[in-house]
């Protein structure tokens, strides 16, 4: 039998029961749109997290004191762990060829005062390569030079929030602020970075030379070291070099940890993949329920149209003609539900991105294709049994049915 004629018959049957068809499609519609919407939202969330992490700078390597995986070398607690020092940083700068920049890092909080205004802010102690390693640039003024860093001059750069809170509309460059007990001259204003993951405000900080920070916090130990690999292809090589160089300085003990940004990203990626699969799976259950709805309605339709099946068989329809006719109808029902579901999901992503503009959902092509294929499969799977029942009807009994 002619496929176009079958599609025409299916549409006229669907149109003949508009409300019922619409309600049946609703099941598939909700299933498809929730699958697509949830996948889009998690994909958007993932992109957001990745951009937040890469916002810190690409090809970043993080060196932290202590072993995170094992304490075998250190005995109980962190007793045997040697601190990371400026010496380690200098060794890296001199010998690690896969690295194009390295900065020591000290993090603390201190009270910062300008005239009568005071604010407790995060204080970073770094050296002149900081802006090269971490993706934070000076907005006006300048960052400190190698001389500033090594001679522990009392100069600093401040973030936008600190500037707004302490200076208002005043130009902070060249002004002196009090950090802890010492006076620092402001030489630069950092560009606005916003928050990372909605918590830490990267604009609410003051950056000073690392040696000044060591004095301020009265410590020789570094919070950590940050390095940047020359390219993303040598990240593993850079990690190997850093490990070797610092290990040598620490008496052949690996009492520190090197983390690559990529390792962090791939961990993040696998967590989100799991999350998105779980959510899509839950949404797929509603698609299953939608399929059962289709099967239900198709069974009703077969019963209602028993007479029609009898007439068709009397004039020569074979079993497969009837089977295909009802199968085409259930596929079209399901597909129409699927297509409207895709459109609804599209509207949903637009609304979501208006409500949460920071984390816009990403409508991916594969989720749309998958949903389309899935709704066809639902139509076939849940349409086969009713269509088979219709095909098996005996013509005489079907004709007699009122």
């Amino acid at each position: 039998m002619d496929i176009i004629e079958m599609i025409r018959v299916a549409f006229s049957s669907i149109a003949g029961n508009k409300l019922r068809s619409a309600l049946t499609m609703l099941g598939v519609l909700i299933g498809v749109s929730s699958v697509i919407l949830l996948v889009s939202i998690t994909t958007g969330f993932k992109e957001f997290l990745i951009s937040q992490f890469s916002g810190m700078g690409t090809n970043l390597l993080i060196v932290n004191p202590g072993r995170t995986e094992t304490r075998r070398h250190g005995g109980p607690g962190l007793a045997g762990v040697r601190d990371l020092t400026i010496d380690d940083v200098n060794a890296l700068k001199k010998r690690a060829t896969a690295i194009e920049g390295t900065t020591p890092l000290i993090v603390g909080t201190a009270e910062v005062k300008y005239l009568s205004r005071a604010r407790k802010v995060a204080v970073l102690g770094v050296d002149e390569e900081f802006t090269n390693v971490i993706n934070m640039q000076v907005f006006t003024g300048r960052f400190f030079s190698k001389e500033d860093a090594s001679s522990a001059r009392r100069v600093c750069t401040i973030g936008q929030t600190v500037k707004d809170e302490l200076f208002g509309n005043e130009n902070p460059l060249g002004k002196f602020i009090k950090i802890g007990t010492s006076r620092y001259r402001i030489i630069g204003l950092m560009e606005k970075k916003g928050t990372i993951l909605g918590t830490e405000d990267l604009d609410d900080l003051v950056i000073i030379p690392v040696i000044s920070a060591q004095r301020l916090f009265n410590t020789e130990a570094l919070f950590g070291i940050r390095s940047k690999a020359r390219s993303r292809f040598v990240i593993e090589e850079a990690k190997r070099q850093i490990t070797e160089i610092i290990k040598k300085k620490h008496g052949n003990k690996e009492d520190f940890t090197v983390i690559t940004q990529q390792a962090m990203l791939s961990t993040l990626d696998s967590i989100l993949k799991g999350l998105s699969t779980t959510l899509a799976g839950i949404a797929a259950i509603s698609l299953l329920v939608g399929g059962i709805g289709i099967m239900n309605i198709m069974l009703v339709s077969v019963r209602e149209r028993t007479k029609e099946i009898g007439i068709r068989k009397a004039v020569g329809a074979k079993k497969r003609d009837i089977l295909y006719q009802f199968l085409v109808e259930s596929i079209i029902l399901s597909l129409l539900g699927g297509i409207t579901g895709i459109m609804l999901a599209f509207v949903g992503t637009v609304i979501t991105s208006m409500l949460v503009p920071q984390i816009p959902p990403l409508l991916s092509l594969w989720s749309v294709l998958l949903a389309t294929v899935f709704s066809i499969l639902v139509g076939v799977f849940f349409g086969v049994y009713p269509a088979y029942k219709a095909a098996q009807l005996h013509p005489i009994e079907a004709l007699r049915y009122e």
Binding site: E5, E308, G310, R312
Partner: protein, 234 residues
């Protein structure tokens, strides 16, 4: 001698035909050892009270059902125990049905109803349309062909059904009480249509319980309790 040889090959040859239905635990012998030969081009009425086996005989002749015992030869071919889909093919090619309660598809135009047998015969769209228009013209309904079946009168519906029965040019027109639901004037027109189809060379078989209708045919077969009671040729 070619003449008698031709008669040796009847269109329909039922030999010792029996049909037993099982309803619950009850067995009903709808046809009992029935023998019937129908030649091509005959105009036959099958008459009898309800329960006499008229409908069963019609279903057997029309390939809607198969025998329990005995044989059915159609153009010398044994068609007694064909599979369901083979029977569908036979119905499609050889039989044009006209039912008492019309049996048109609802929500479907007259022309689409007439096209139906051609659809299952595998004719393409153009050919279906051409033949359906021709058939609907034969029954004089060309101006009503795009109306849905629920917009037509009883007589018009039966004429659409006749158009559907002749569209694939089958050898046999099998009509089950075709005038049963029509007023006498319309019924007369319908019967005239059957007479015209017969005069064009088709085999027409009318199943009826109305002696006045049966009178139109050239041969009247009376059934009683699943057997042929009388077989009268005019």
């Amino acid at each position: 001698m070619p003449e008698p040889e031709k008669r040796m090959e009847p269109l329909i040859n039922l030999h010792n035909a029996s049909k037993v239905y099982k309803i619950g635990k009850l067995y009903i012998n709808a046809l009992k050892d029935l023998n019937l030969i129908i030649e091509s081009g005959e105009f036959i009425s099958i008459i009898g009270p309800s329960g006499s086996g008229k409908s069963t005989l019609m279903n057997i002749i029309g390939f809607l059902d198969i025998l329990t015992e005995g044989s059915y030869h159609f153009r010398s071919k044994d068609v007694s125990y064909l599979e369901e889909d083979e029977l569908s093919g036979m119905r499609n090619r050889e039989i044009g049905f006209v039912f008492q309660n019309f049996n048109l598809l609802s929500r479907t135009t007259a022309i689409k109803n007439v096209e139906l047998p051609l659809l299952y015969a595998g004719a393409d769209r153009k050919r279906r349309q051409y033949l359906a228009e021709k058939a609907i013209e034969t029954v004089g309904l060309k101006q009503r062909q795009l109306h849905n079946s629920n917009e037509l009168s009883g007589g018009e519906i039966q004429r659409v059904a006749i158009a559907r029965a002749i569209v694939a040019n089958p050898q046999i027109i099998l009509a089950d009480e075709p005038t049963g639901n029509l007023d006498s004037k319309t019924g007369k027109e319908i019967l005239e249509t059957f007479e015209r189809l017969h005069s064009q060379g088709r085999t027409v078989i009318l199943v009826t319980h109305d002696p006045a209708v049966a009178e139109k045919a050239n041969r009247i077969i009376s059934l009683l309790d699943g057997r042929i009671n009388r077989d009268v040729r005019k």
